[in-house]
Every structure is written in structure tokens, then in C-alpha cells.
């Protein structure tokens, strides 16, 4: 009896009782379908997040001012803007920071934008031309702020898509003007939509040249103070190198001798992943629950039907023993039959799971990714359940005495 013979025999038994085998594998079928869907949802959400991160600049470092010390009194975190435009410029050095691909200093203010009788309060971002590639954004129309706008302190602005829609409705805002703090700004471009990260709507902001924003909106004497510096690494793999370089350059410039006295903080977008990967937790938990329960019930179903099968085929077992079947071979025969019940349930479950994913796609916002390794793991689990719950019935078959088995009706 080779394994091929055993599986042939097992398959015969399953085929002979098609309906019964189908019903038996139903529990495993539903369980595996739920596993495929759960994993698909999780991976889909992960893919969505990483796609979002890539779009927003996944290899991004965010430098924010830390605490300041003035007259012996340490202020709280972010109490003073210790970062300057010169810090940002220093980071663009190709020799000191070879792993830094782009640097965008940012000043942020909440301001009211007015177009005629419409007004809209939004985040006004003062930055340089490098903001666009560093944040991984693109333009829907018009142009972005240029180095010339920056040096002349031009009164121009680029609107994000939602902001443009709020102020101008369906009209093209490029060439129009909006008023901020009583000063008219010409709209020179509109950003393409980027959705939102965990906390901010990335499509609701107005971009100004850094110099314009610091002169007209912040005012005061400190015109080089920067709210945040975005640093983009040349590639994902160089992010930690870029981190080291940024930390070293700023530490040197700020004469920081130990990390406890550091007056800036560098964070990465990795922290975003955890917050953004908010898959529908309820749905996932529900599916995991269904999967676990179904697989348990399915396993018990396999055990039950295998016990019935052993009972029904007592004579067959007796005959097989009379013809030379050893207990080990009889046990193997029933184990392979149980594993094939599991396999049947697993294959049908994968089919149902993939089908369910295709249908669910139209009803939920999260994408569902079907991954081949997970499908194979799911099928493996199904087979394992079949074997696991087949052990007891198979042992009973192997223990039967050939005489009693042959005598049975």
C-alpha cells in the first residue's frame, strides 16, 4: 500500500458519499473562507497604508522644535521655535547629509481665506518649492511656488483640492485671487487630492512661499523661525542613515551635547502606520470568531463522520485486515480519508473566500488582498484539522479485531 493507493482509496470513499462529504466539510469550508477574508482584509488595509505612506513620502523624517531653555527655565515641548531656516538649509548639504533627498521647512498658521462673500478657515502652510516632492504631492492644475516667488516674497498661493472647492466651487481657481488677512493672493495652482492621514485632512490647506508667510502672517522680528522641517531620505532603505545625519547636523548647529538637552525632536512616519491601519476592527474580530468556531465545528464534523464511516465499514476493515492490512495501514487509510475531507473543505473554503472578497469589494471601502502564501497556509490548516480530528476514528478502525469485523453485519 503506497501513499498513492491510500489517497486513491480515501478519494473513492469521499466520492461514494458526495453529499455527506460536502456537508461534513461545510464547517471547515466556512472557517477557511473566513480566514481567507480576514487575512485579505488585514493585508488589504496594510497595502493601502503603505501606498498612502508612499504617496505622502513614506521615507519622511519630521523635525519639530523641542523645549527651549530661557533664563534657566525650561519651557515645555514645542514652547519655542528653535528651528530656523538656516537649519533647513544646512540639511540640504550633499556632503554632510548624503542620504537626505529633500528638505522642506514649514510654517503653519490657521487663517481665514476669503473669496468675495465666501470665507473658509484652513491651515496656511508657508514653505519652499521642495515641499511638493518631499511630501510626495502633485499638482492638478497650475504651478507650484517657485524659488523666485520665495525670494521675492510673492503674494501667491497654491490651494489643496478641498480648499479650492470650498472657495471656488466647481470653477477653476487658477488665476483667481483669495484674501488672507486683508491681503489678496493670486492662486497659481491646485494640488491633487491625497486623502487624509490619521489626524489631518491633507486636502484642506493653502500653500504660501515661506518668506511670504513669515513676513506677512507671522511678523515680528524673528523671520527665520521654522515650525517643522520635513526631511526626505533618498530611499526607504536610507531612512535611518538620514535620521542619523539630521540628528548630527542639528545637534552640532544647536550645540547639543546630550540627548536630554536636545531642543528638537525627529519623528518618522512609521508612527503613522499604527494609527492609519485602522481596519474595521469589528469586522475582523467577527471573522476571526467565525473562523475559529467554524473550524472547531468542522473538525468535530469530520470526527463524527469518520466515526460513522468506521462503523459502517467495519466489514471492509475486517476484509482489509484479512487480506493483509496491518493496523498501521488501516490507520493511515482513515487518516488520509480525513485529511482529504479537510482538503476538500479547504479548497472550497478558499474558493468561497476569494469569491467573497470579490463581492465585498463593492460594499466596503477597505481593499481585500488575497495572498497566495496565506491561501496555502489556510489549506494546510484545513488538512491538519482533518488529520487531527481523524486520529481517534482511525485508531478505532486500526484496533478492530479482524474476526469481529468480518462477522459484523
Amino acid at each position: 500500500m503506497t501513499w498513492a493507493d491510500l489517497f486513491h482509496t480515501g478519494w473513492d470513499a469521499i466520492r461514494t458519499h458526495k453529499l455527506r462529504s460536502m456537508l461534513t466539510s461545510l464547517g471547515i469550508l466556512i472557517g477557511i473562507a473566513a480566514v481567507v477574508l480576514t487575512v485579505g482584509l488585514g493585508q488589504g488595509a496594510q497595502q493601502k497604508v503603505s501606498k498612502q505612506l508612499a504617496a505622502l513620502g513614506g521615507n519622511l523624517l519630521i523635525v519639530t522644535p523641542g523645549s527651549s531653555t530661557s533664563g534657566g527655565v525650561r519651557g515645555g515641548l514645542g514652547s519655542a521655535s528653535t528651528l530656523t531656516l538656516a537649519d533647513a538649509t544646512a540639511l540640504t548639504s550633499k556632503t554632510a547629509a548624503p542620504d537626505v533627498g529633500g528638505v522642506a521647512p514649514v510654517l503653519q498658521r490657521s487663517e481665514s481665506l476669503v473669496n468675495g462673500s465666501t470665507n473658509w478657515t484652513t491651515t496656511v502652510v508657508g514653505t519652499t518649492a521642495s515641499w511638493l516632492p518631499v511630501r510626495g504631492r502633485t499638482l492638478a492644475s497650475g504651478r507650484f511656488i517657485s524659488a523666485a516667488d520665495e525670494s521675492s516674497g510673492a503674494a501667491v498661493t497654491v490651494l489643496a483640492s478641498d480648499t479650492a472647492a470650498e472657495l471656488f466651487g466647481p470653477l477653476d481657481p487658477v488665476g483667481q485671487s483669495v484674501t488672507i488677512n486683508g491681503v489678496p493672493y493670486q492662486v497659481i495652482g491646485v494640488l491633487t487630492s491625497a486623502g487624509s492621514d490619521s489626524t489631518t485632512n491633507l486636502d484642506d490647506q493653502a500653500i504660501l512661499p515661506f518668506s511670504t508667510a513669515s513676513q506677512r502672517l507671522v511678523g515680528g522680528t524673528d523671520r527665520t523661525s521654522v515650525g517643522t522641517i520635513y526631511v526626505k531620505a533618498v530611499s526607504d532603505g536610507r531612512l535611518s542613515a538620514a535620521y542619523q545625519e539630521t540628528n548630527a547636523i542639528l545637534g552640532y548647529r544647536h550645540a547639543i551635547t546630550s540627548s536630554s538637552t536636545s531642543d528638537f525632536t525627529i519623528t518618522t512616519q512609521q508612527s503613522l502606520i499604527s494609527t492609519t491601519s485602522s481596519v474595521d476592527k469589528t469586522l475582523t474580530n467577527l471573522l476571526i470568531g467565525i473562523a475559529a468556531l467554524s473550524l472547531l465545528v468542522g473538525g468535530i464534523g469530520v470526527m463524527n463522520i469518520m466515526l460513522v464511516s468506521v462503523k459502517e465499514r467495519t466489514r471492509e476493515i475486517g476484509l482489509r485486515k484479512a487480506l493483509g492490512g496491518t493496523p498501521a495501514l488501516i490507520r493511515r487509510q482513515f487518516l488520509s480519508e480525513a485529511s482529504m475531507l479537510g482538503l476538500t473543505g479547504g479548497l472550497l473554503g478558499v474558493a468561497l473566500g476569494v469569491g467573497g472578497a470579490v463581492v465585498l469589494r463593492h460594499f466596503i471601502s477597505n481593499p481585500i488582498a488575497i495572498s497566495v502564501p496565506w491561501v496555502l497556509i489556510a489549506i494546510g490548516v484545513a488538512i491538519t484539522i482533518g488529520i487531527g480530528f481523524g486520529v481517534y476514528p482511525a485508531a478505532r478502525a486500526a484496533r478492530l479485531s479482524p474476526i469481529d469485523a468480518l462477522r459484523s453485519e
Partner: protein, 242 residues
Amino acid sequence: MGSALTADAPTQPSQPSPARSTPVIELAGVHKVYRTGSLEVEALRGISLTISQGEYVAVMGPSGSGKSTLMHILGCLDVPTSGMYWLAGEDVGVMDEIELAEIRNRRVGFVFQQFNLLPSLTALRNVEMPLAYGGVPRERRRRQATAALERVGLGDRLAHRPGELSGGQQQRVAVARALVTDPALLLADEPTGNLDSSASEEVLSLFGELHRQGRTVVLITHEADIARRAQRIVRLRDGAIA
């Protein structure tokens, strides 16, 4: 599983393995006691019996005489409580469950009253089954099983399932299955018990033919006119040879 099957064509009865002088069956003072709770039943009370190569023996006796018990012991389905049993020179009494399965596979060909064919398998695959347990490769299995079915006159029924065959044909498939491993002993337990008279005749003349070709046949029956067809009749009464 041993691959002790060396003969290629089951139609050619081979000499019993050790030597011609070795009896196929040698029972010496065999007792079998069954214990059910506190009750002890002595089914066999000291059976001594020798059956030589090529003999056709009928074991006869009324029900309760120990026929079935003797058949189980002869077929290595059970071992004696005391006494010795050599099958083709091998001491069966000392064998464990696995060794018993192996000797049944190599040395005994069973024919049962209820045919005991698997209904979902074709005649060919039914006949192949003992070869599969004997570890014979697929190709040789097919060849030997085909030859065995041709031997019993069912060469044109290889792909038929038992349900598509008459009772007599089914029992001939069972005989082919018993022959296919070229066993030392052909053990038939009431082989015509479920057959009408013409099918019985079909099967019994097949046993007669096999005997003439040198097979050792032991036939267990309670019918005198069936037993008369054998060379020798062993009568059992109350667990002993009468």
C-alpha cells in the same frame, strides 16, 4: 509489508516454499478458549491435523462444532490458546498482529460466504487489493490481477463493479482475489452459502479444477454433498475431530 511474492503468474501453482515434504498445515493439540466475563467456552479441544500440499479437504460439522474457530486459526485471523500451528512451516503461534497480517497476505487466500468484495471498486481493483497490501508495484499488480481474473473466466469483466455481476461471478472474483498472491492455502468458508445451485456448481467446479492443478484447498461447509466433492473430510464435533 514484505514483498515475498515472487511468482508472477498466479495460474501456475508453485511448490510450497520450504520443501514438498513440509505439510501446508500442521496443527498439534490446538485448544481455543473464549472467555466472556466469568464464562469460559472451549471452542476447540485439542485438534491435531495435518494437511499436505495439493490436498482438497472439507471441514464439516454442525453449527457450534468449532468450524468457524478452526477456520479463523487456519486463516491466521486468530491464534490458538494452546497447542501449535505451523502454516507452510512457519510457527503461527508466536506471531504478533503485524506478522499475522503479513502471513495472511502471503500464505492464505480467503473466500468468504458473503463474497466481501468492495462495491465501489471494479473487479480488477478488488483483486489487486491483497497485492497492494503485499507491496507489489502498480504495474505488476495490474498484470497479476488480470491473469487471476482470466483464470476464473472473468477476463472480460475487469472493469465491472460487483453490483454489475451475478452472485456466481462475484464469488469467482473473490476466488481470483484469493488466488492472486499465489498462497499456500486456499481457505473457503461456506463459499456457496449465498449462491443458487447453478452458481454453486460454477464455484465448486472451479475449486475442483484448482485442486487438480495442485492447489491446497480447505473448504468449510455444513452440507454433506458439498463436502463429498473433497478428497478428504474432517468432521468436527464439540470442538474435536470426530
